[in-house]
């Protein structure tokens, strides 16, 4: 309150911060929040709007995220070993973000990405396949393997 008028914007921001803090502090104990957060990381949230609502929740360097990039099963040869590693957050960014998109999408011999994120007993694994489009560009198709 200042100058006798309630400051609704200030109060709304405080409520938003408190809601995010409660959400974060509940995460270690609440399987629902853990699953929701992992699905957010893997872009597996049922509705885009529900995913978008989580955008203000800070999630830098969260969870143990691992990836494996390899040939699709019928294309695999003995010599093409999978490329594996760990990544700090939002692992689908390997394909979506500008940092690695130009390196990985054109790789015709490794077009399948498997991602696994783990957090306190919860695990989410997804698989992503790259399809080259005739009119230029690529399409990313995903499937959820386990939860």
């Amino acid at each position: 309150m200042s100058n006798g008028r309630p400051d609704w914007t200030y109060r709304s921001i405080i409520v938003l911060i408190a809601a995010v803090a409660v959400w974060l502090l509940s995460m270690p104990f609440c399987p629902f929040i853990q699953r929701t957060a992992l699905q957010r990381f893997h872009l597996q949230t049922d509705w885009f709007a529900a995913w978008a609502m989580q955008a203000p929740v800070p999630a830098m360097y969260s969870f143990h995220n691992r990836y494996r990039i390899e040939s699709q099963p019928w294309d695999a040869t003995f010599f093409e070993r999978p490329v594996t590693g760990s990544i700090n957050h939002f692992p689908v960014r390997l394909y979506t973000f500008a940092e690695t998109r130009p390196l990985l999408l054109p790789q015709t011999n490794r077009r399948m990405l498997t991602l696994q994120s783990r957090y306190r007993g919860q695990t989410l694994t997804t698989r992503w396949t790259v399809i080259e489009l005739k009119d230029g560009g690529y399409e990313l198709v995903d499937e959820e393997l386990t939860e």
Partner: protein, 276 residues
């Protein structure tokens, strides 16, 4: 310096820091915009608007331009309108296929939300504004550090395994290059464990207590912790922490007498009024 000058200075410090944050990786973002044009990626999860290279490029330019204008704008009403428009541009970037993962835009979003509120209250010229602005900034900083901490409260992070895999094995950065040159892999694993525990400890303590600390103490601690995140892991992370450093600096601009006045005002508001 009078209250109005301090308030304006605080607003401009935050804008300068946020602008620096957005421009820290400007060359990368320009290349990214070109790449999203040249190598589009169709993905059913994202609406077409949030896959468009045009959305990314215009959103980034609007955010940079908006914060630049907020830095130099004179009219309070103009500052407020630009702040909200900039927040819309940053919201678009936080949801875009090619930018959602970059925490640069998440921290800039929170900083600009603070700026939009602050710009609106500057018109009212309340002496306690700077005090309340510091309190809100502390709450935002606490929540963001808490977000980083909670995601690391796992056995894999606590053991150092995650940081070992991400940083210690092959990341080309001064600290990890130095450690790799001096220590054997076994010893590196031990160092990674203590590195991880240090990060988790600092983020957890700050993410749980920063909001409750005295203003200047919180500001000084934040201004030590935030740059250290970038200095000891990746200089690119300055794009994430610079805007937060601007918010933290607001706490240094609150004069002692304003803090006392604001406390007295709060105490008076809590005291029941006698109706004789």
């Amino acid at each position: 310096m009078n209250a109005r000058s301090r308030t304006l200075l605080a607003f401009r410090v935050v804008q300068a820091a946020t602008l620096a944050a957005l421009l820290w990786k400007v060359a990368f973002f320009v290349d990214a915009a070109k790449l999203y044009y040249e190598m589009p990626l169709r993905q059913p999860f994202f609406p077409a608007f949030f896959q468009s290279a045009l959305t990314f490029a215009s959103g980034y330019m609007a955010a940079v331009l908006g914060i630049g204008l907020m830095l130099i704008a004179h009219g309070p009403r103009l500052r407020q309108v630009i702040s909200w428009l900039t927040l819309i541009a940053l919201s678009g970037l936080c949801l875009h296929q090619g930018a959602y993962n970059d925490a640069t835009f998440t921290t800039a979003w929170w900083t600009t939300l603070w700026s939009a509120w602050f710009a609106g209250r500057m018109r009212i010229d309340d002496e306690s504004l700077l005090y309340r602005g510091t309190r809100l900034a502390q709450a935002i900083l606490t929540m963001i550090l808490l977000g980083g901490a909670v995601g690391k409260w796992t056995a894999e992070y606590w053991s150092g395994q995650v940081f070992y895999e991400i940083y210690f094995i092959e990341r080309d950065f001064w600290l990890f290059n130095l450690l790799r040159a001096r220590f054997e892999p076994d010893r590196l694993g031990e160092i990674a464990t203590w590195y991880a525990r240090g990060v988790i400890g600092v983020e957890s303590v700050c993410g749980l207590t920063l909001w409750a600390l005295p203003r200047r103490v919180a500001a000084v601690i934040s201004l030590m912790v935030l740059p250290s995140i970038a200095i000891f892991s990746s200089f690119y992370l300055f794009s994430v922490v610079l805007s937060l450093m601007g918010l933290a600096a607001v706490g240094l601009l609150v004069p002692a007498d304003v803090r006392a006045n604001a406390k007295n005002e709060a105490r008076e508001n809590l005291t029941p009024t006698r109706c004789d």
